[in-house]
């Protein structure tokens, strides 16, 4: 855990971060809004005392109430992984600026996130579906996309209580519900 990094981030991005940086194990976590993505990530990448040159991962998250995009960064200046959580994207029309101008390698990761969650990355020159067929209309990793063979709604439901934990309250049995495109 690199306490100095948390202090540096809190000082450098004062007023931009949603709350102070959190730390656990070997990870430092900061939360920002969608409007500050370019400003924060460009600073993290370019400023020599931060020097986060490596984008380790880009992930989408559907919390059930909002969308998030999560970046994991690596720098030689710290022993921690840095996690930047962009929170508060609306589930109806999630939009976020692309980071392909910093890391062209983020292009496919953003395409994957778009394909799975429907998050639009503004500025990505090639935002098409990458895994699913081009005329597919749903976003499979959203929380309101249920698997058609979900064990929670199978005739065997109730046999193993552990499988019922995620079963939605209002789910009709055996119906695959899709979100709008």
């Amino acid at each position: 855990m690199d306490r100095a990094l948390a202090r540096r981030l809190d000082a450098r991005f004062e007023g931009v971060l949603h709350g102070p940086a959190k730390q656990r194990h070997d990870q430092t976590e900061v939360r920002i809004g969608a409007g500050d993505v370019q400003q924060v990530l460009t600073a993290l990448h370019d400023e020599p005392e931060l020097n986060f040159t490596m984008l380790a991962d880009l992930a989408g998250v559907d919390t059930g109430t909002e969308m998030q995009v999560v970046y994991h960064l690596w720098s030689s200046s710290t022993s921690d992984w840095l996690r930047v959580i962009v929170e508060g994207l609306s589930r109806d029309d999630p939009r976020i600026p692309s980071v392909t101008y910093l890391w062209p390698g983020a292009e496919w990761m953003e395409r994957e996130t778009y394909d799975m969650f429907g998050i639009t990355f503004e500025g990505n020159r090639d935002l098409r579906r990458i895994y699913m067929p081009p005329d597919y209309t749903s976003f499979p990793l959203r929380k309101d996309f249920y698997l058609p063979d979900d064990a929670a709604r199978s005739p065997g439901a109730g046999v193993r209580h552990v499988e019922r934990t995620h079963s939605p309250v209002d789910a009709a049995p055996g119906v695959l519900r899709r979100t709008g495109a």
Partner: protein
Amino acid sequence: MATQTPPRPAKPAGAATPEGTHRSEDDPNVLLQDDYAFYEPIPPYPPRTEREAEFYTLGDGEMFLNMGPQHPSTHGVLRVVLKLDGERVVDIDPVLGYLHRGVEKLVENADYHQTISQVDPLEYISSLFCEWAPVTAYEKLLDVEVPRRAEYIRVLSGELNRIASHALFLGWFALDLGGLTPILWSFIERDEIVEMLAALTGQRMLFNYFRIGGVNGDLNHEFMSRLGDWMSRAVGQLEAGMGLLNENEIFVRRASGLGIVDSETALRFCMTGANLRATGVPFDVRRAHPYSIYPEIEFDIPTRTEGDSLARYLVRMEEVKQSLRIIDQCLEQMPDGPIMAKLPRLLRPRPGRAWAAVEGPRGMYGAYAISDGTDQPFRLKIHDPSFIHLQAVGALLPGNLLADTMAIMASLDPIMGGVDK
């Protein structure tokens, strides 16, 4: 690469569409052209993005060529649309998804232990690393400390798996450059390792061996005797296999200067592993961000500065030697003790988020796990190096000859099971 038109479904009655088009079965709002053959390079709909419009516009004297998805040298089921100017590749558009299983969704709908068998087939020739990343992430969520013996066994089996994977890389790479012998040689070594891992784990390929908090079984007699037997002649055997290529002038001249990438570009393309180290960046997760017992073990990080296919090949072969060193030290320092931490059967980590990365044979495997306090992961994102490296092919390829397409792709060593998840 010949195309054949599958029988077209009859038009549904009452759905009027413009002449020469029919509605998509998946999305009735999309109109497809009737005379569209399934594997034609040009998609049957207008371009949706700027990049697609640019790619599917032919310049003077250019043509499209469709490679795959059943092409023998695409290392899995991958379709690549090539834009050619004579024999030169102008641009490529890889089409993915033929092996997509939706692992991340399946993992969300099963409990924590079941993740391990789901992520196994991702990179099916280095499965232990696919298990290692999510297992480590879950251990961080649970704040559990893994017994030292279990960590040593993980490193020991992981390094064996790395050698098996690099042995296959050697064979495939030579095969894609037109040499048939090395793959026969490398399969001897690979088979020996796979058999000894089968003695340890019970499976030849999809090991399902790591557990949250330890490993599934302790070292046994058959594994140890096979390992001792193999270690005594491994160096000689592997050197013979490498000598077949390293001292082959045709191979060296063919591979050097092919698909050059510099360190700045490699970092911007998020490349990791041997492909990044071949450009001169000494980034290895085992040293850059130590996990498990790697801080206690001595090994070097081989790097080269050329950044071409030959450098990537040589870095991997050096890594094999370092792996043998690590195995030696593991066997020497292997402590006694339990191989599993004490954990309840049904895991319910406190709500939280954890990221874990491990250094696999192809680069950095990562897992980002979110717990919501129930017995199923709320989200598991799997970061796969093959996916990233396949993307970089698009940057390395333009300007090279058509025959070099697969050679460059093989030198980056992507596995389609991992690319498509």
